[in-house]
């Protein structure tokens, strides 16, 4: 466990010790210079206090040897820093051959991640410990950035480019990942957790099925785990309609027709979100086909059902003007 006021993040990948080592070197060099300069300033300040108002300083114009010394010496130190940093950077950029490839797609404001076997996650990444992992990243809209401080890795995700990065997690646990490149309104919530698992656990997780629990509770958890909450906010102000009072109501669609919000409508909306667009909203929801099991759809439906007595928010038109104004 880390202390109340940690000074560096956990070291959980092959890069972390390298980066921390270089940082210690840099801190040592820089602190040396900072201390020398500040000490000199303070010492001179008190040592050469003005004694009388018309006193004159000793006119010294300069010293070529000193000038050369403080040009050349820092230059070599700087080159040492550059060389060390460059060496680590080349490691970052030189991906090994035996990587586990994860596909990462950033979009405003969620991450879609896909395991090599096709299993998909949203804002969650599960990786096995001590395996080289490569992220192949693309963006659907603006520039994002995938960053895991505990691994000391970070890379921009640029539309029109595939950027890649790799790392080898070496400590099981759960670590934050963030979007580090400012990407609009919900930039700060566009993050999640990397779970580093023992290799056996990872294999088990890949073939996992959901356990039996109260479907409403499971659904509620999915609602937040799958980041439904990002858009389908209860107050209807998000980019998708609210679930409150949805079940059993008649929903007005963008093409002017109306549909009864029953189980099959909900199922279709999860798997093929663009088939029926609610009036006042944009077709922006990604499909969850293949990401949720039938059990999970049932759980989500159960959760939405449980909200049917909640008061629905105001007109969707209001929500549109909050998000869709030009």
């Amino acid at each position: 466990m880390q202390s109340e006021l940690p000074l560096y993040p956990e070291q959980a990948s092959n890069f972390a010790p390298q980066v921390d080592g270089l940082v210690l070197f840099m801190i040592a060099v820089c602190a040396f210079f900072a201390v020398v300069i500040c000490a000199a300033v303070i010492y001179f300040f008190f040592r050469y206090q003005r004694k009388r108002p018309d006193e004159l300083g000793v006119p010294i114009h300069g010293d070529m040897r000193l000038e050369i010394a403080w040009i050349v010496l820092p230059f070599f130190l700087l080159m040492a820093m550059f060389g060390w940093g460059a060496a680590i950077y080349v490691d970052y950029r030189h991906t090994p051959n035996d990587t586990l490839d994860i596909t990462v797609i950033g979009k405003q404001w969620m991450w879609k991640l896909q395991q090599p076997d096709g299993r998909r996650e949203i804002n969650e990444l599960h990786v096995p410990v001590n395996r080289n992992v490569r992220l192949i990243m693309a963006s659907e809209d603006v520039i994002h950035d995938f960053s895991v401080p505990a691994f000391r890795v970070k890379m921009d995700v640029v539309p029109g480019h595939y950027n890649t990065m790799w790392f080898r997690p070496n400590k099981p646990g759960r670590y934050h990942f963030f979007c580090s490149q400012y990407c609009g309104t919900n930039h700060a919530v566009m993050g999640g957790w990397v779970t580093v698992m023992e290799q056996d656990d990872y294999a088990k997780w890949l073939s996992r099925t959901t356990g039996s629990e109260d479907p409403v509770a499971v659904g509620q958890k999915l609602y937040s785990d799958l980041a439904c909450a990002t858009c389908h906010q209860p107050d209807g102000k998000g980019r998708g309609p609210s679930y409150n009072g949805l079940y059993g109501s008649h929903v007005k669609l963008a093409d002017g027709s109306t549909v009864l919000a029953d189980d099959s409508y909900l199922r279709e909306s999860i798997l093929e979100p663009n088939a029926k667009i609610v009036a006042g909203y944009q077709p922006v929801m990604p499909s969850f086909q293949g990401q949720v099991t039938e059990d999970q759809i049932a759980a989500l439906t159960a959760y939405i059902k449980s909200l049917k007595d909640q008061a629905p928010p105001g007109k969707p038109g209001a929500a549109e003007s909050a998000t869709g104004k030009k």
């Binding site: 880390q2 560096y8 993040p9 390298q18 980066v19 820089c30 300069i37 300033v41 001179f44 300040f45 050469y48 206090q49 003005r50 004694k51 009388r52 108002p53 004159l56 300083g57 000793v58 006119p59 010294i60 114009h61 300069g62 010293d63 000193l66 000038e67 403080w70 040009i71 820092p74 700087l78 820093m81 550059f82 060390w84 940093g85 460059a86 680590i88 950077y89 950029r93 405003q108 809209d141 603006v142 520039i143 401080p149 000391r152 890795v153 970070k154 890379m155 921009d156 640029v158 539309p159 029109g160 480019h161 950027n163 934050h176 979007c179 400012y182 609009g184 309104t185 930039h187 700060a188």
Partner: protein
């Protein structure tokens, strides 16, 4: 500190001194005489008022940001509003306060006087550039008021050109227009320094303040047009669906960043170089000895301006630029540290065997050295490829550039304002209050921004309206520091305003200092000098200036003026 027997060590207005009968402030009266003035000193005052306005606009945004970040889930505003706050903070502070601050206020006021000219080469263009600044500023304020701006001050496409719903267009046009204000100011300074120097004012007798501004002007004229065209292209994408960087057409958002940083990295030097110039004036004055290594400080200003142009892509190590290019830019970035280090070493050495006083400008000057040293050294962490991957876009970056821009540029600006306040207004500010303010600022600043280095290393990304709870302690410290800092900024506003009317009359040369600006009246005449001065002394030479009344000064045969160029 001073013993009771001796006269005070601080500036002592000669008894019964009066303001000169006629000076630039009372030469003419009425609002027209100000708004249509071509006097560089009055234009400097106009700039002083307008940049102060923008400083407080940006400052209010900053305070709201810090209050909001008191708790992990955000304390004050919605995410949308928070994004607008930090964007508008950046835009107001960078484009409308920091970039014009020292050049347009102090540079405008002092450069002609320092080189013995009656005015800048193009006084009307000088006035025009203030009006351009106002138009640009008005458009940006309009954008703030009608929907705000939420793209970040960096305006990265395609967020700014396609996805943002805020008032990007007027802001981009405002900054585009404001660019011409910078260009014209830089042009004016360059031509003035080339053609308007008084007899005897050779290049190597120029005050280092002028050298620094010459270097700054190079960046103004060579860099600003590029940001102008870049933002224009982003604006055209937004307004007319043209595509230059639009990925939907196959365009490359990284190209925008190349163009943007080609200006915006040198722009950092626009902010810091003039402050370095101010410090190079303050330190010899209050150490009462020639500056150590004049040639090296002058050359390092030009060196910073030139090398500063070839380091820009260090803002883009993580965008997917080529590894080779990243290596080259990292190397060049380390090089630019050399001239900066040269300056710091020379200033420190100037203190050696000086006769050092505690006066407010000197406190700012010494504070500057400390803060700039920390800011500069932490810049090395970011220049270092291996570390930048972890530190990029975290609070470490925020802390680093605030140490440079607030700890460096604003400390230099305030130091300069205090140093030349007697020249600008003819009156002294209340010394003890000013020292308290300087120390408050120093303490508040460090408390605000030092914790952010640690936050950054822990991985807290910038531009986050909420954050994981483990970052809270440091954020609270930072906010506490910011409240002290805010107090420190209000204080000078109050006593400087007070002193304009009630301050003691300063006289020509209260410190005393050696520059040409101190040989004329305080405040100066509209045409600066009664007759064109002839410069017969070396810069920062106290020893051979007996007229300054210092103990042991000797006169020396004036060196004949030879007018090389």
């Amino acid at each position: 500190m001073s013993s009771s027997q001796q006269p005070p060590l601080s500036p002592q207005p000669a008894a019964e001194q009066q303001l000169p009968k006629e000076h630039y402030l009372n030469a003419t009266y009425g609002i027209r005489s100000w708004l249509l003035t071509t006097d560089h000193k009055r234009i400097a005052i106009l700039y002083l008022i307008s940049v102060t306005f923008f400083f407080f606009v940006g400052g209010i945004f900053a305070s709201l940001i810090r209050i909001h970040l008191l708790t992990p889930s955000g304390y004050l505003v919605t995410p949308e509003t928070y994004n607008k706050l930090f964007t508008m903070h950046g835009v107001a502070m960078i484009f409308f306060f920091l970039i014009p601050s020292i050049p347009a206020v102090l540079g405008n006021f002092l450069i002609p006087i320092m080189i013995g000219a009656k005015d800048l080469a193009f006084p009307k263009i000088n006035l025009l550039s203030w009006y351009i600044y106002l138009v640009g500023g008005a458009l940006v304020l309009y954008s703030f008021a009608t929907g705000g701006l939420d793209t970040g001050w960096t305006f990265y496409t395609p967020l700014s050109s396609i996805y943002s719903n805020s008032a990007v267009t007027p802001a981009v046009i405002g900054i585009f227009i404001n660019g011409f204000s910078s260009i014209l100011t830089g042009l004016n300074f360059i031509i003035t320094v080339h053609t308007m120097r008084a007899p005897g004012m050779t290049w190597f007798r120029l005050p280092l303040f002028v050298w620094a501004h010459y270097a700054t002007s190079l960046i103004f004229i060579l860099g600003t047009p590029v940001i102008a065209i870049t933002l224009l292209l982003a604006g055209l994408e937004r307004m007319f669906h043209l595509g230059f960087f639009n990925p939907a057409y196959g365009g490359d958002p990284i190209l925008f960043q190349h163009l943007f940083w080609f200006y915006s990295h040198p722009a950092v030097y626009i902010m810091i170089l003039p402050a370095m110039g101010v410090i190079s004036e303050i330190i010899p004055t209050f150490a009462r000895k020639p500056i150590f290594g004049y040639d090296f400080i002058a050359a390092s200003s030009i060196g910073i301006a030139v090398i500063g142009f070839i380091v820009w892509a260090h803002h883009m190590f993580l965008t997917g630029q080529s590894t080779y290019s990243a290596l080259a830019f990292s190397f060049l970035t380390f090089l630019v540290a050399v001239p900066s280090a040269v300056k710091v070493f020379n200033w420190t050495s100037t203190l050696y065997k000086g006769s050092i006083s505690f006066d407010t400008p000197m406190l700012y000057g010494l504070g500057f050295i400390g803060l700039f040293t920390i800011g500069g050294l932490t810049g090395l962490f970011l220049a270092c490829l291996g570390l930048d991957i972890h530190l990029h876009d975290t609070y470490f970056v925020i802390a680093h550039f605030h140490y440079i821009m607030v700890g460096g540029a604003i400390m230099g600006y305030l130091g300069g304002i205090h140093f030349w306040w007697p020249k600008i207004t003819g009156r002294l500010y209340p010394e003890y209050l000013a020292r308290i303010a300087a120390i408050t600022l120093f303490v508040g600043f460090n408390l605000t921004f030092f914790p952010q280095f640690i936050l950054g290393y822990l991985g807290m990304p910038r531009r986050y309206h909420n954050y994981p709870p483990e970052y809270q302690v440091l954020n609270v410290m930072s906010t506490a520091g910011a409240s002290i800092l805010a107090l420190g900024y209000l204080l000078p506003m109050i006593y400087l305003a007070w002193s304009m009317r009630y301050g003691k009359v300063a006289g020509k040369n209260p410190w005393p200092s050696t520059g040409l600006e101190w040989t004329t009246d305080s405040p100066p005449l509209t045409e600066n000098f009664r007759e064109t001065p002839v410069v017969g002394w070396e810069p920062y030479d106290f020893l051979h200036r007996p007229e300054l009344g210092l103990l042991g000064a000797v006169s020396k045969k004036p060196v004949p003026a030879h007018g090389d160029d």
